[in-house]
Symmetry: C2
Subunit: 344 residues, 2 copies
Amino acid sequence: MNLTLKDIAQAMGVSVTTVSKALKDYKDISPETKTRIRAYTEKVNFRPNAHASFLRTQKTRLIGLVLPRLKHDFFNEITESIICYAASHDYKVIVLCSEESYEKEKSQIKELLQLNVDGIFISVAKNTNDYTHLKQVIKNNTPLILFDRTVKLVPSLQVVNDDFEAGFMATEHLIKQGCKKIVHLRGDLIPQISIDRFFGYKKALEKHNIPFKKELVTICSENTFEEGYKGVFNLIKKFPDVDGLFAITDLVAIGAMGAFKELGYQIPKDVAIIGYSNWLISSLITPKLSTIEQNGNKMGKQVMQSFLDLQNTDGEMATSKYQRLIIPSRLIPRTSSMKTTELL
Amino acid sequence: MNLTLKDIAQAMGVSVTTVSKALKDYKDISPETKTRIRAYTEKVNFRPNAHASFLRTQKTRLIGLVLPRLKHDFFNEITESIICYAASHDYKVIVLCSEESYEKEKSQIKELLQLNVDGIFISVAKNTNDYTHLKQVIKNNTPLILFDRTVKLVPSLQVVNDDFEAGFMATEHLIKQGCKKIVHLRGDLIPQISIDRFFGYKKALEKHNIPFKKELVTICSENTFEEGYKGVFNLIKKFPDVDGLFAITDLVAIGAMGAFKELGYQIPKDVAIIGYSNWLISSLITPKLSTIEQNGNKMGKQVMQSFLDLQNTDGEMATSKYQRLIIPSRLIPRTSSMKTTELL
DNA sequence: GGCTTTTACGAAAAGGTTTTAGTTAAACTT
DNA sequence: AAGTTTAACTAAAACCTTTTCGTAAAAGCC
């Protein structure tokens, strides 16, 4: 159906080899022939078959991107960023969604390898705790980059937010606003991001000599509005005097905010709230939600850039090197946490 | 690097043909040989090379999805829906973002054809008004499905929301709430969706004998918070007595809401507001924004299902048939438009 | 037992590109 | 003029799978 090198060669009265070389600018083809052939291929809109090409070159210019979910501002942003940046370097991205399922993640990785993608970028599912599928990628010599939800045990490139710093900054910010009894709505126990943010929270308390109480920490495994909402209702029974809250993600914070409002608390006067991720919604609700920026755009670019750098290395062992690139966090103070009105 | 049929054949002491046939369950291979070979391929984790396979079968099980943007609740939802549904039918999706650029859209289509994807799903860029690239797809006999931002002039399958009905419902809802002077913040002039919603608006006014005034309609080409915000500030100078507003999309509506609040208008008492798309944020802001549901999930499934149906048809001419599938709209009344408190 | 049918497997071509290793003719040496 | 370079092009193999067409042996038939 599609035109092939053979067709072009026939039409031009030259060999297949010559056409191929002309298109790839080999120096043993005369300038006249080159322009003649190129003009023709341009005219008939010929582009060499990518799969046949792969068979020789072993390069697909395809990248596999595996995400736990797509309907999520941050993953969404990082996806757009990777796709656009990849496109500008002539790479295309196959996007897969593990739907937080380890099984799916595993089989998707396998399928990507079967497709011979040039690289795999992945943010792992929450309950992924077996990493043989990831090690398989490395064994296969396919560049692997973990991002955001990473696994420290896998010897590959990893691009992460500074989650510890984020937890620390958020909590210290609340402390500086005068909070003494700070609740943390944390994420699940397994993911590194959730652990790191929690440690940041703890560290900030410690630094400011506020005793850590594990009862003030609740797990929100789903990261939804409802979890934040329910989390507050449960906590408030035992601790009606909380005056600060740091949530694992903005949506949870907004749920918490809803609960506090319903319970008659004033925000930020009675309780200061800060989230994480800087979702679009956070700057549009009332009061505007303080948060920590999670720059998906920057991270996406970093992931893609790291991949490109790998391509320009000697190859071979360049893939399986453990390295952690950390994207700095940034505090975005807004109304929801500003007890002292000095800023903003 | 990867194992091939040849390797397996060698190890098993049979021919390449036999291995291939065994894996594809041909009936001229004995059951014993089949199980023996399968056990081995399972063990060594062999999967046939997808590209070599393509060369014979002309099937890639890849789908190209072209979107104007990704950071957008609706496109995001539809993407997730398509990707997941596709995965369950063993198709993988290459996602491309035209960034609202006709030029990029055009070259991306070309690249997808070069990759021999089994189908292309596209929602066109705002300023796309030349359709030769789309017709090229049809000429290439590649199934093409347009969705949401479609082009009526292209003879292909199209899946759309009932935008006319949506505009009508939204406007009529405002009228029923007692609004007499209803502003419409519409989208750009070219996209069909924007035209249809506008026509719906007009039709509702007409039905209820409210004269249409073109000064009450403003174009918001960017569909952002700012556009809605500015739109209201501009309008309000001339028409301080507007009592209703229908915006092309929720984010614009929220911008408008912000402006009205700042100007001291009470919502919905002074002015009733309704958006379109049911973004996540709309149910979380105060007051909750009334809107029209734009079910991305449903549309994604419909798009993919239509594609699968095409695959099961005789092929050939099945691709280039003009057909429009309409996903019904649904009114979601919330606080922002409820002047009469009968509902909710 | 001589015939046809069935069973189980293999050879080879096709699919389109890339690249190595030529080949020919012209141009250049001395 | 004989030999060497260079320029411009080509043949053919390789990449890996699928599928058509064969072939050989075993089984079935009267």
